[in-house]
C-alpha cells in the first residue's frame, strides 16, 4: 500500500513521457496521493500497523532492503506533509506550455523522492531517495529559474553536493562503527556506537544534514534558490524536501547521543545564527520572494532548538516535549512556507512585480488574496490557532524543560530566550511586507489587479484549512507519535541490551548542559 504513494507519481511521469497532458497527470496523481496518504494515516491512527509495505532485498552483504513502510509516527506525519504540499504545488500556478512537461515531471519526481525518503525504513534508500529528489530540483532551477539561473543552480549544486557528501561520509562511518548486520533503521537503532567514534560521526551528521536544512553558516544557497525556482518547486523543496535533514537528525541522533552532546554549544551558536543573524538579513530584504526564502532559513533555527533540547536531555523520556515539538513545527512550517510561496507567485502574476516598494493597497483590489496571505503570514509569525504556534510554544517549553531554578540558565535556556527575540524579528519583516503589499493606497502596479478566482485560490485554501485544523487541534498530529510508555520501554530495552560503555579518560566534556530534571 505504501508503495502506491511512490508509484502514483512515477506512473504519472511515465504517462507524461508517453504523451499525456502533463498538467492533468500531475494534478490527478498528486490528488490520488493525497487521498491515499490521508487514508493510510487514518488507518495508522486507528491502530493498524501492517500496511502491506514493500521489502525487497537489494543487496545481501551488507543487507540493503528497498523497504517502504511507516517506521513510526514521525514518518506518517512527514508523509502527510509531503502529499498535502505536493497536491497544493501541483495545483499552483501555470507555466508556459512548452515547459509544462519538464515542470510537472520535476514536481512529480520531487514528490516521489520526498515520500520515498520519509517512508524508507532502510538507511540506504532513505539517503538515495533524497538524492534522487534533488536532481530535478536542481535541473528545474537551471532550466526554468529566474534571474541568474545558471549561477544559482551552480551554487545550489555546490552546497548540496557538499552537504550530501559530508553526510554520506558520516553515514558510512556510522554504519562501520555500529557494526550493524543490515542497514534497516530497526537493527541500526539497536546498535551502540563506540564513544570514541561518536564525536566525529555526530559532527559529520550535523554538517551534512545541516547544510541540507540551510543551517547557519551553510544557508546561502536557500534564499536565491527559492526566489529563482518556479513556485511549485520552491513550495515542495522549502516545504517538504528540506525537512529531510531534520528528519534524519531526529531519526539518527539516538545512535550518537554522547557525540551530539559534545557539540551542543556549537549547535546552539549555529541555530542562533539562523534565528538572529538570518533574521536580520531577512529584515533587510527588498523583494517578497527573497524575504520568504530567508524567513524559511530563519525558522529552521527553531527546529534546531528543539533538537538541541533533545540532545541536552540525552533521552526522549527526559524531555518528552522536544521531539513532538520539532515534528509539529516541521509540519507547520512546511505547510506555511508552501502557502506563502504559492501566494507570492499569485501576487507576481497579478501585479507583475515582487518589489515591496512597488506594491501597495492590494487588499482593496484583492481582499481574498489579502485574507489568505495574511493568514499564512500570521501563521508564519506564530499566531495561536494556526499550526506553527503550537509547534513553537512546545519548542520553547522543551527548551526550559531541563532548567533547575536553583541554577543559572544553561545553554539551552539562554538559546531559548534569545530565540524568543526571533518572534519580534519575524513580526517585523512579515508585517512590514504585508503593509507594503496590501495596505495603504493603491499604486500603479496594483490599480488594475483583480482578485483570485476560486480555482486559483484552491491550493491556498487547502493549506489554510490544514493550518487551522492542526493549529486548533494539534493532537490530531501529535497522536501519531509514540506514547510515553513506549518511549521508556524502548530506551530501557536499549540500555539493558547495550549498557553504555564507560567513558574513556580524556573525552571528559560530554556532560549535558544542563542536567535534565525528571
Amino acid at each position: 500500500m505504501t508503495l502506491a504513494l511512490i508509484l502514483l507519481p512515477l506512473f504519472a511521469v511515465i504517462a507524461i513521457l508517453m504523451g499525456a497532458n502533463p498538467r492533468a497527470a500531475a494534478r490527478n496523481a498528486t490528488g490520488m496521493m493525497l487521498f491515499a496518504g490521508l487514508g493510510l494515516a487514518a488507518l495508522w491512527a486507528l491502530g493498524t500497523r501492517t500496511f502491506l509495505g514493500v521489502d525487497f532485498l537489494v543487496l545481501s552483504k551488507p543487507e540493503i532492503h528497498l523497504a517502504l513502510n511507516f517506521f513510526d509516527g514521525m514518518s506518517v506525519i512527514m508523509m502527510l506533509l509531503s502529499v498535502i504540499v505536493a497536491y497544493a504545488a501541483a495545483r499552483t500556478g501555470d507555466c508556459e506550455d512548452r515547459h509544462a512537461k519538464l515542470w510537472n515531471i520535476s514536481l512529480l519526481l520531487i514528490a516521489a523522492g520526498a515520500v520515498g525518503a520519509f517512508l524508507s525504513t532502510d538507511l540506504f534508500f532513505f539517503y538515495a531517495f533524497h538524492e534522487l529528489a534533488l536532481i530535478p530540483t536542481f535541473l528545474t532551477i537551471g532550466i526554468l529559474g529566474r534571474g541568474d539561473r545558471k549561477e544559482i543552480a551552480w551554487k545550489v549544486t555546490i552546497y548540496l553536493a557538499f552537504g550530501s557528501i559530508i553526510l554520506l561520509a558520516g553515514l558510512l562511518w556510522l554504519i562501520a562503527a555500529s557494526g550493524t548486520p543490515d542497514l534497516s533503521f530497526e537493527s541500526l537503532l539497536k546498535c551502540t556506537v563506540p564513544v570514541a567514534a561518536q564525536r566525529g560521526i555526530a559532527l559529520f551528521l550535523l554538517i551534512g544534514f545541516g547544510t541540507l536544512v540551510s543551517l547557519f553558516p551553510f544557508h546561502s544557497w536557500a534564499a536565491p534558490a527559492y526566489a529563482s525556482a518556479p513556485a511549485p518547486i520552491s513550495m515542495l523543496h522549502a516545504g517538504v524536501l528540506k525537512k529531510f535533514g531534520l528528519y534524519g537528525l531526529l531519526r539518527l541522533h539516538p545512535l550518537v547521543p554522547i557525540g551530539m552532546a559534545s557539540w551542543l554549544e556549537l549547535i546552539i551558536v549555529l541555530l542562533l545564527g539562523n534565528i538572529l543573524w538570518v533574521g536580520f538579513v531577512t529584515i533587510n530584504q527588498k523583494r517578497l520572494d527573497s524575504m520568504l526564502g530567508n524567513s524559511s532559513v530563519m525558522h529552521m533555527g527553531y527546529i534546531f532548538l528543539a533538537i538541541a533540547a533533545l540532545i541536552a536531555a540525552q533521552s526522549e523520556s527526559a524531555n518528552p516535549i522536544a521531539k513532538p515539538a520539532a515534528i509539529l513545527l516541521m509540519f507547520g512550517h512546511g505547510v506555511t512556507i508552501a502557502m506563502l510561496f504559492g501566494l507570492a507567485d499569485r501576487i507576481e502574476r497579478l501585479t507583475g512585480t515582487l518589489e515591496l516598494r512597488d506594491l501597495g493597497g492590494l487588499a482593496k483590489q484583492a481582499p481574498k488574496l489579502a485574507f489568505l496571505f495574511g493568514l499564512a503570514a500570521m501563521a508564519s509569525i506564530g499566531l495561536p490557532g494556526l499550526a506553527n504556534f503550537a509547534g513553537e510554544v512546545m519548542v520553547f517549553i522543551a527548551g526550559f524543560k531541563g532548567w533547575e531554578p536553583d541554577t543559572p540558565p544553561g545553554w539551552v535556556q539562554i538559546a531559548t530566550i534569545l530565540s524568543l527575540w526571533g518572534l519580534v524579528i519575524s513580526a517585523v519583516y512579515m508585517l512590514r511586507a504585508f503593509r507594503h503589499i496590501f495596505q495603504g493606497p493603491t499604486v500603479e502596479f496594483t490599480r488594475n489587479a483583480s482578485d483570485l478566482s476560486a480555482r486559483d485560490r484552491s491550493p491556498a485554501v487547502l493549506l489554510a484549512a490544514v493550518l487551522l485544523i492542526v493549529g486548533l487541534f494539534p493532537n490530531i498530529l501529535l497522536q501519531f507519535l509514540e506514547q510515553p510508555e513506549a518511549v521508556v520501554a524502548r530506551e530501557q530495552a536499549h540500555i539493558t541490551q547495550h549498557p553504555r560503555p564507560p567513558q574513556p579518560a580524556g573525552s571528559a566534556p560530554v556532560q549535558p548542559h544542563p542536567s535534565p530534571s525528571q
Binding site: L59, K61, P62, F124, Y127, E131, L132, L134, I135, F138, L139, G142, W154, I158, Y159, A161, F162, I165, L171, L172, A176, H219, S220, V278, F280, V281, I283, N284, E316, P320, I321, K323, P324, A325, A363, K364, G382, L383, P384, F389, A390, M394, F400, P405, D406, L420, W421, L423, V424, A427, L431, R435, Q439, G440, P441, N475, L478, Q479, Q483, V487
Partner: protein, 614 residues
C-alpha cells in the same frame, strides 16, 4: 454551568466565522449577527455571575507525559470581569450600529469585533498561563485588525503595525517569564496548582522569582501600555472610535492588570514581594504621571482620552505592584478601579465618538466649541463621564481611586504624592477638554452644523452614564467586584479624602479659569508644555533607536552575510575541498546534465563503499 461558559467563549468565534465565510457580502446581516452574539454572551455572563463557580478543561496538546490544557476557570474574579467585558462590549456593538452605518467594510468591522470578544473572553476565562498567552496573542491580533480597519490610510496601517510590534516586544518578556515561572513552580501552568509550590519557595530563590515576575510583568507593560512601551496606544486611536472605547480603554488594555491580579490570586502576593512589586508600582507611578502631563497638551479629543487611559492604567498597575508589600487588598483596589474605569472611560470614548460623528469626523477640539447647545444629551453624558474620571465624589471613579491612594499612602508615600499630583492634572486636562469642545461658541463649520446623534448611539451613552455614577455602589458592585475595603468597611473621610478633594478643586478650577473663552491654547508656547505636547520626544527617540539597532544592524548583517559568509568563507570552503573543487570547476563549463550526473554519482558511491569497502 460549564456548558454555558464554553458557549460564552465560542459564541463570538462562531459568529466571526459565520461573518467571514457566510454573510461577508451582506453587511447588515453581519452587524445584526455580531450584536446578537454579544447580547447572548452578556446574558450568559450575568447568569454565571449569580451562579456557583465552575471549571472545566480538555487536553489541547500531548507530548509524552506532558500536556497543555485548554480550560475555563470561573471564579468570582473571572465571572465579574466577564460582566465588564461583555457589558461594555454589548454597548459598543450597539453604538457601532450607528457609528459605522455607512462604512464600506462594515462586515469586516463586525467580524473583527467578534474575534476580539472571543479573544478577550479567553483571557478572562483562562485556567492556565499557556491558554492565557494564546488568547493574549489573539487579542493583540484583533486589535491589529481593528486599528487597521481603514488600512488604505497610511497612518492607520502604520499604527496597526506599531501596536502589534510593541506588544510583541512585551510578549517576548512575558513568554520568558511564563517559562521561568513554570520551572520555578514545579512545572505547572495551571493557576489552580500554583499556590502550594509558591508558598513553599525557598528564600534562596527570591531573586529568580522576582525576575520571573518582572518578566511576566513585561507582558502587562506591552498590553496595558505602560512606560516605556506606552507609545502604541495613542497611535491606536487611528482605529474607529468605538474600537478605541472597547479595546483601547475598557478591556484589552486592562488585560495586563487582570493578568497580574490573576497571578496574585493564584500564587499569592508573596511572589511580588521585594524588588518585583516595587518596580511594578514605580512603573505604574511613572506612567500615570508622564501620561497625565502629556494629556494636558493634546488637541485631538481622542488623544486626550488615550493619554488619560494610560494615566489611569498607571494607577491600576501601581496598585497591583503595591500588593507585594500591602497584600491582596492593594490588588483588589486596582481591580476595582479597572471595573469603574471601564464604564466611565467607555462612556467618554463613545461620547467623543458621538461628537466626532456629529462634527463630520473632526477630531481637533479647537475646531469644536458650543456643542452643549447643539447636542445637550450627549454633552450631559460626557459631563458625567468627565466628573467620574476627575474622581468627583460620589461618582464611581472617586471611590476606586480613593482606595488606591490610601494603599499608596500607607505603603509607599512617594508614590502617593505622585498619585496626588496626577489627581490635580486629571481634572485640569479634562476641564480643558470639556470647556474647549462643549462650551463657548462653535469655531468651525462642523461644530456649527452638529446635531444630536440618533438613539442607537445615545442609548448606550445614557446607560454608561448611569453606570458611571452608580457602578461603585454595593448594589451592583457587590456581585461583580465584591472583595475590597470600600465594601467591607464603608467610607470614612480621612486625610486621603481631603487631599484628593483639594486636588480636584485645584485642577478643575485651574483648567476652567485658564481655558474658559479661549480659542487657542495659552500654554502652547511655554517650553515646558511644548515638551508635554511632543510627548517628551519619546516617539522620536524610539524611531531613532529602531533605525539604529534594527535597520542599520540588519543592513550590516546582510552585507556581511553576502560578502563574508556567502562570498568567502563557505563558498571558498566548498570550492577548495580537496578534489571536489576541481571536479566542480571542470563541470562548470559543461551542461546541466553533468551536474545531475554528479548527484547520481553520489548514489553509486554509496553502493560502492558499502558493498566493497568493508
Amino acid at each position: 454551568m460549564e456548558y454555558l461558559a464554553w458557549l460564552l467563549l465560542l459564541l463570538p468565534l462562531l459568529c466571526a466565522a459565520a461573518i467571514q465565510f457566510g454573510v461577508k457580502d451582506s453587511p447588515a446581516a453581519a452587524a445584526n449577527l455580531s450584536v446578537a452574539s454579544v447580547v447572548g454572551t452578556f446574558l450568559i455572563a450575568v447568569l454565571l455571575v449569580f451562579n456557583s463557580d465552575f471549571s472545566s478543561s480538555f487536553t489541547w496538546a500531548t507530548a509524552g507525559t506532558f500536556t497543555i490544557q485548554i480550560g475555563i476557570l470561573g471564579d468570582q474574579l473571572a465571572k465579574g470581569m466577564m460582566v465588564v467585558v461583555t457589558g461594555v462590549g454589548m454597548l459598543v456593538h450597539i453604538f457601532s450600529l450607528g457609528y459605522m452605518k455607512d462604512d464600506e467594510a462594515k462586515a469586516r468591522y463586525f467580524g473583527g469585533l467578534s474575534i476580539f470578544m472571543f479573544s478577550m473572553t479567553g483571557i478572562v476565562l483562562a485556567d492556565n498561563f499557556i491558554m492565557m498567552f494564546i488568547f493574549w496573542e489573539l487579542v493583540g491580533f484583533s486589535s491589529y485588525l481593528l486599528i487597521g480597519h481603514w488600512f488604505e490610510k497610511k497612518s492607520a496601517a502604520e499604527a496597526a503595525k506599531k501596536a502589534f510590534l510593541v506588544n510583541r516586544i512585551g510578549d517576548f518578556g512575558f513568554m520568558i517569564g511564563i517559562l521561568m515561572l513554570w520551572g520555578i513552580l514545579g512545572q505547572t501552568f495551571l493557576f489552580a496548582e500554583m499556590e502550594a509550590p509558591a508558598k513553599a519557595l525557598p528564600e534562596s530563590q527570591a531573586t529568580i522569582v522576582g525576575i520571573a515576575v518582572l518578566l511576566i510583568f513585561c507582558g502587562a507593560v506591552g498590553k496595558s501600555a505602560q512606560f516605556p512601551l506606552h507609545v502604541w496606544l495613542p497611535d491606536a486611536m487611528e482605529g474607529p472610535t468605538p474600537v478605541s472605547a472597547l479595546i483601547h480603554a475598557a478591556t484589552m488594555v486592562a488585560a495586563g492588570v487582570y493578568m497580574l491580579f490573576r497571578l496574585q490570586v493564584a500564587a499569592g502576593t508573596s511572589i511580588f514581594e521585594g524588588f518585583a512589586g516595587t518596580t511594578i508600582a514605580w512603573i505604574g507611578g511613572i506612567t500615570t504621571l508622564l501620561a497625565a502631563l502629556m494629556a494636558t497638551q493634546q488637541d485631538d479629543i481622542k488623544r486626550v482620552l488615550a493619554y488619560s487611559t494610560l494615566s489611569q492604567l498607571g494607577y491600576m498597575v501601581m496598585a497591583v505592584g503595591l500588593a507585594g508589600e500591602a497584600g491582596i487588598e492593594a490588588g483588589q483596589a486596582g481591580m476595582f478601579h479597572l471595573y469603574t474605569h471601564a464604564w466611565f472611560k467607555a462612556l467618554l470614548f463613545l461620547g467623543s465618538g458621538a461628537v466626532i460623528y456629529a462634527c463630520h469626523h473632526e477630531q481637533n477640539m479647537w475646531k469644536m466649541g458650543g456643542l452643549f447647545r447643539r447636542m445637550p444629551k450627549t454633552t450631559m453624558t460626557f459631563a458625567v463621564g468627565t466628573l467620574a474620571l476627575m474622581a468627583a465624589p460620589p461618582l464611581s471613579g472617586f471611590w476606586s481611586k480613593e482606595l488606591i491612594l490610601a494603599q499608596a499612602l500607607e505603603h509607599n508615600p512617594p508614590l502617593f504624592w505622585i498619585g496626588a499630583g496626577v489627581a490635580v492634572l486629571t481634572p485640569f486636562y479634562m476641564m480643558r477638554l470639556f470647556v474647549v469642545a462643549f462650551l463657548g461658541k462653535p469655531r468651525d463649520h462642523g461644530a456649527e452644523k452638529a446635531k444630536e446623534v440618533p438613539p442607537v448611539m445615545l442609548v448606550p451613552l445614557i446607560i454608561l452614564g448611569v453606570l458611571a455614577v452608580v457602578s461603585a455602589f454595593s448594589l451592583i458592585a457587590s456581585s461583580i467586584v465584591p472583595d475590597n475595603d470600600f465594601h467591607a468597611h464603608g467610607f470614612h473621610p480621612n486625610m486621603v479624602f481631603w487631599i484628593s478633594l483639594g486636588a480636584l478643586l485645584l485642577g478643575a478650577g485651574g483648567g476652567f479659569l485658564l481655558y474658559h473663552g479661549r480659542s487657542s491654547d495659552p500654554l502652547a508656547n511655554n517650553p515646558l508644555f511644548k515638551l508635554f505636547r511632543n510627548k517628551f520626544y519619546l516617539d522620536e527617540l524610539y524611531l531613532k533607536l529602531v533605525g539604529l539597532f534594527q535597520d542599520t544592524v540588519a543592513m550590516a548583517v546582510h552585507f556581511l552575510d553576502e560578502f563574508l559568509i556567502n562570498g568567502m568563507i563557505v563558498g571558498g570552503l566548498a570550492r577548495s575541498t580537496a578534489g571536489l573543487g576541481n571536479i566542480f570547476r571542470r563541470l562548470q563549463s559543461g551542461n546541466l546534465q553533468g551536474y545531475a550526473i554528479l548527484f547520481g554519482a553520489g548514489i553509486l558511491l554509496v553502493i560502492y563503499l558499502t558493498v566493497f569497502a568493508r
